[in-house]
Symmetry: D4
């Protein structure tokens, strides 16, 4: 769909407002051959446009960014390789990058703080930081106040309890853990706010690349917990933002 | 901990208010030998007391209900067999029961509506209703406005789209599906509110008792989705309630 | 078996037609030591000869191509590495190659259009294109009219519905999807023609290299759907062609 | 949607034919509370209405049949228990039942033969007959000529080869096998028509309830094969019919 | 081997003490046709004789008990059905039975307390008690001081911390948990003594009959933890006893 | 194929011996509708006819036995239920039955001892006897000398070593074990004859119904070992017989 | 144990022949610190010494070869890298190597033909050759007559049947196949000799690195088949030799 | 928490001894941003500080070592890459490294022998040495007497039995094995001391990276055995030390 043409048609009274609305509701995407870019949410709620970079060629990524950039909206790239970022930086000097989480950010307009409270990102260990940072930057870029509390796993329960105030002040908690994935259960027992559990692939042997913490989190005996895919920091940050923006 | 004694001590100035508060914060549970009943949340936020009945003997269930009932709070029993309910009904004539979901409810005090919006429970098929009803009664009993939209699976996408208004009006959506578990993905693409995905064990063969929809939901390409355990209607209803009560 | 000698024998009346037919029925293959090349289908129905290149040495691949080429029939190579293609190109200047799908084509004779209708290749995302292209070139090379509709996954259902005419015009549909693999279910609900579902290994974490979409597709609640192996674009394209040629 | 009202509106010119068509295209289902009955396909292509009985209460099944019967169309019930059938038979004396496959058939109108050729159902063993019969009755009820060839598994390859003429005469083949699931591969190598492979849960130990033949069939080295869910005779019969009806 | 004959030979000087010792070291078992009863450990270290009753016929169990009883040693039966116990009780009036854990005990001689400290059995929930009791009675019958702390799972961490003194006083801890199996990790972080983790099959869905807690425990980030088979209360109690008896 | 007619044709010179031989080679089976009975091996090498009873109706089993019995050959039924046996016994008074292994034997002609040596069946525990007996009776009925050594598992290695002479005298060894399945490895290290490993489903928890010993046996570090399906005593006994008969 | 010293002791009458025999029976291994080399079988039955090279450092491999070579016996190395072979070749000019199977052979004495018949190695495809060659060289080096029949998979059943004479002439058959692993079932149905099935990791997607053919082979409906580990050509060749040498 | 400040406060009577004790009990960790270093155990029982190096950047590892070193305690690094060690060595010349196990040791104070007996590390094969050495150095560094017995797997049971004295003299045994993982079962049957089983990822095919020996060990029919994660030599060595230090 050509958005421009549609809006011109509206301007020139070639189309009824009602019909235009209907079209906009169903078709807010752009066909560029190898991709149907979906401007759906960024148009509607001021979210950034998002690109999942993994498995896409640099040419495709650059092509998609070009179309998105033309709208002037913010752009968030996940799982973006450093080499890809280097190419992007040359064309978009305002592009920022976090090496640990491989998050790319291109800020074209001011981010409006839309959250109602604080999102807290907690990790069990230091090795979970890449995934946690993906959640952190996603939530931040969607316009939230975000705090971090890292390396407070349950095998040293006093480290977690000593930071109880941070946990109790959050409106939404993202609990990131690999190994046995017990962190969300303990946190879930301490608070009455939603806890989003993110299993990570940190571990070895019978961890089976994150299967162990995934199953543990799905079986949590604490209430108020839900789970996203292994290493899916983006999904957790996005959902946390969605919850935090609820009126 | 003996709550009564503590409160008497407070009354008689045998204990400082501050010390009493501290004790209450850490120890709101009751030791009855075979169980440590946790009055934590019901005291703090008016939630019902919850018993997971499966795997507990009828004597134990009745014993736990007795202690809970003494507090006068509401009681929600999950996975409660019909034969157990029959015994409970004789002692607690106000006990209610839904045979499909095996949910037991004993209402001792008026449920305050605490939710900010509507929770919508959607299912892919008719066979998912037992799990969906577990979510429904849990959310209802926690003080929410809840609506149901059943049998609108993705293989007949027009059934879902024809009810788009219900989906767009909800504040939190619980999407229950077995088979290939695709429902949450489609719903997640239509709304900007949190979607809690519940895989069910409905299916056969390569469904592997719910593994297929569980994996599908964890891999959803839609944003704003998180997942609970297979057949965990209670967990979804409880989390939906937690989100819906956020100020 | 030496086909040439057999046919000469027929010509020279050294063998009865009936006996020759019998031999041809049972033994249309050629033993070259490390392989028994099967000319079965290419002789019978004008299909190209097919080589699955993966796991074969370059010498073996070149040897097999040499024998096939002598027959003058068309040759399709799947999972052919670029370095192997470079060697082939030097010997067979008419060899063509698609880097995304790693499909090799050597066209020695005109491809007869044998299909009764259009085969449509649909993908859920941009990352599924390598597998989709494997199906595309296979179906094309087997003499079909083929169309492509890429990146119309179910999390943005409007992208799919906006292209409903393409879906409704196809005689056979190949639906390629990774992640949660829900695409075939939705398409299967919209049409009355066969849908061949191809799960891809696109995804991460609990995707388990394509297990998630594979299970989802096997459990599809839509009718008229069948599934091929993960990433098996060739198999899907070949089967689509087989169906499309049915008289 | 109320179909009756709509058609009355058409009759009384309260609605334009065009608008009515549009509505019918998108909304051919009926909401009876616990189910959205989909009359989609039976209206469009003369297929029977289908009920997957497993996991539904007898009351629900009877309710759904009642609505379907009112349309006068044929009804096919899968996985219908004998006790359920007994209840149905009292209300619908024309109801027929196959105990092996648990297939229920209510024939309200003559079945038109719509197939272009013969569908052949083959099994590896005698124990696969329940699944094979499900495919058989489904294809039959959808208006096809169907033949059966049972107990010709690959460990006695001469049994299969001795019936080669049946295999070569079919337009679509449904190959049903448990154990190691090798049957479709051998058949696929003998013919140029589509082969639909159905793994069954027949076996024990490392069969893992049909996982072994499922994986074998997905990995078949023969071309032209696709797979449906374990024990999914209905799906195979339905797909075979869909292919056989292609113009 | 006939122990009696051997000892008579020793008495009558038909065999050298040294040779007799050698024989005893290698062959302390008795062949009764369907079983080779191993008196190895009970002779050497005063442990009870142990029968794993599951999968054995009542006749076999009674036959084995008869031989063991003749030695006058204590007998511990695991996974003994109530109906089997009833038969045993008629012949051995001193037989005792715990219905929850299905542990049978026949005490023929006084149990010597051989432990150096206290063994503590902890459970996450009430439903874990059958497995915990198996560990409890095993450790008790092997001559240890044993304490129990039940229903103190990590989702209510205050219940565990309030009983910290019991945990800190134990010499060996057996931590029994189903669901997400996080209990051993938290306990392991609080103490410096060995923690034996026992996953239970308590749970549903993605618990996969105890796989979830098993994997979690194997991946524990706490040190000093090891794991036994799912529901293996006996193994944990026995190992705890072995450790507790170390000089 | 009608064997009788064929042989009559030979007798009456209606067919050449050569043609008859060819027919016999390819078609030694009988089509009775629901089964293609294969007289292949029993005709050729004096083996009994074999029926895998599981999953077949009593009527089918009786029908198949009737046809087999007409040939006067011996009949071996595996996994035959006691109730089925009772029906068989009424018609065939010479039918014998072993309740543990559910093996049915109908001896119509003398069994010729065809083995070159002794087959030894060894088990790890008493609970493995049902599977071991299936191997025992199969090998016995195929005309071998068979010995049994039960309950000599590796956790009491002296029990095995004390019977080393039996192990060293065997020509083929069938090693049956559940639990950790280590028995074949130890035996394989002691002898130079083929060891057929049979994993059993004896165990619980992480045994996963025989998966644990199956994997262990496949990974045996001893040479000269191969594995059959879980609980497949018949297959092991049959293969042992095949090896023992080699000239 | 120091063999030299023992034999000297025998020579010098420092030890009784009987005692020496006893020691030799139990201790035919050599302790070189990082390995206990087992000369057991090579001493007893003229087999080559075997080294599993994978996961051992070059220094360790060279050290082990040195000790073996001193005995003058033949040496077979499996999974030996080319770079390792190059080092070996410099020290042992008679070392031979097959690049496909990575089999190393050092022939220090003439191989005696000990087999009673021919061992046949069959493969389903060309890609299975590396595993098949491992079996081939192992059986050859153990003193057997071995033949090869490659690339005769079941999807072109005529290729197999056309070589039926080779199959019928073998005394032991090793059937090597990846993909769906159906080859052993078809062969097992054609012969009465032992068939050793070797699943290979050839395939992709739902092949799961050889799991698919492994399960298929374990579930074979043909009799007389047993299975070794995925890609374990050595184990199959060794077992085939063990069977072929039986007197 | 700043330990220094706290102790100064104690010294200057700014804090009551009792309050200081309380604080020390709960908070013996140090927050350095990306990690909460836990000095818990090293302060209390003289254990070394431990760093799990895998998945941490060199900068983080160096930063953590710096803090630990300031305390003057010993430091043990597990899974430390050689390149990381090279950097460490430049700063800490007393750093030692074992290339096989990748264990790093920095000895700042004399290790006190605290064990009550000998810990024995046994392996099944030469390839298990890396994991075994991890256990060895861990136990050694924790102040124990440790012995090693390598390459004595069960397929050559005489190698194990010949070293029976070492096994019988140990107070705790760590049994390390890959492949079928049978070693702990045999050892467990020979001794009455705790056996810690360590499955390794040594093997291929159906070993599934250590799953086979893991399951075997969990299902061991020997008593007194418990299991740690695949390849977890550190965990086994640490637990062995914990047991060996018990008073």
């Amino acid at each position: 769909m050509d958005l421009e043409k549609l809006l011109n048609d509206v301007k020139n009274s070639n189309i009824e407002i009602e019909d235009a609305l209907e079209k906009l509701k169903d078709l807010p995407f752009e066909d560029i051959g190898y991709a149907h870019i979906d401007h759906h949410r960024s148009i509607r709620n001021g979210y950034p446009e998002v690109i999942y970079c993994k498995g896409k060629s640099d040419d495709h990524i650059l092509g998609i960014i070009e179309r998105m950039n033309e709208k002037g909206s913010n752009i968030l790239g996940t799982r973006c390789e450093k080499t890809t970022y280097d190419k992007i930086l040359k064309l978009y000097p305002n592009a920022e990058y976090d090496e640990l989480s491989k998050i790319l950010r291109i800020k074209n307009e001011e981010i409006k703080d839309q959250g109602k409270g604080t999102i807290l990102i907690v990790t069990g260990g230091t090795s979970d930081i890449p995934v946690a940072n993906e959640a952190y930057y996603t939530a931040l870029f969607c316009g939230n106040k975000v705090e971090r509390l890292y390396d407070v796993g349950v095998a040293g329960i006093h480290r977690l309890l000593a930071n109880r105030h941070m946990i109790e002040n959050a409106r939404v908690i993202v609990a990131v853990a690999g190994m046995e994935g017990a962190l969300p259960s303990v946190i879930g027992g301490l608070v009455d706010v939603p806890v989003i559990a993110v299993p990570t692939s940190v571990g070895y042997g019978a961890n089976f690349d994150g299967l162990a913490p995934l199953l543990a989190m799905l079986n949590s005996c604490a209430s108020g917990i839900s789970v996203v895919n292994i290493d899916n920091g983006f999904g957790a940050g996005y959902l946390a933002s969605t919850i935090n923006k609820l009126k």
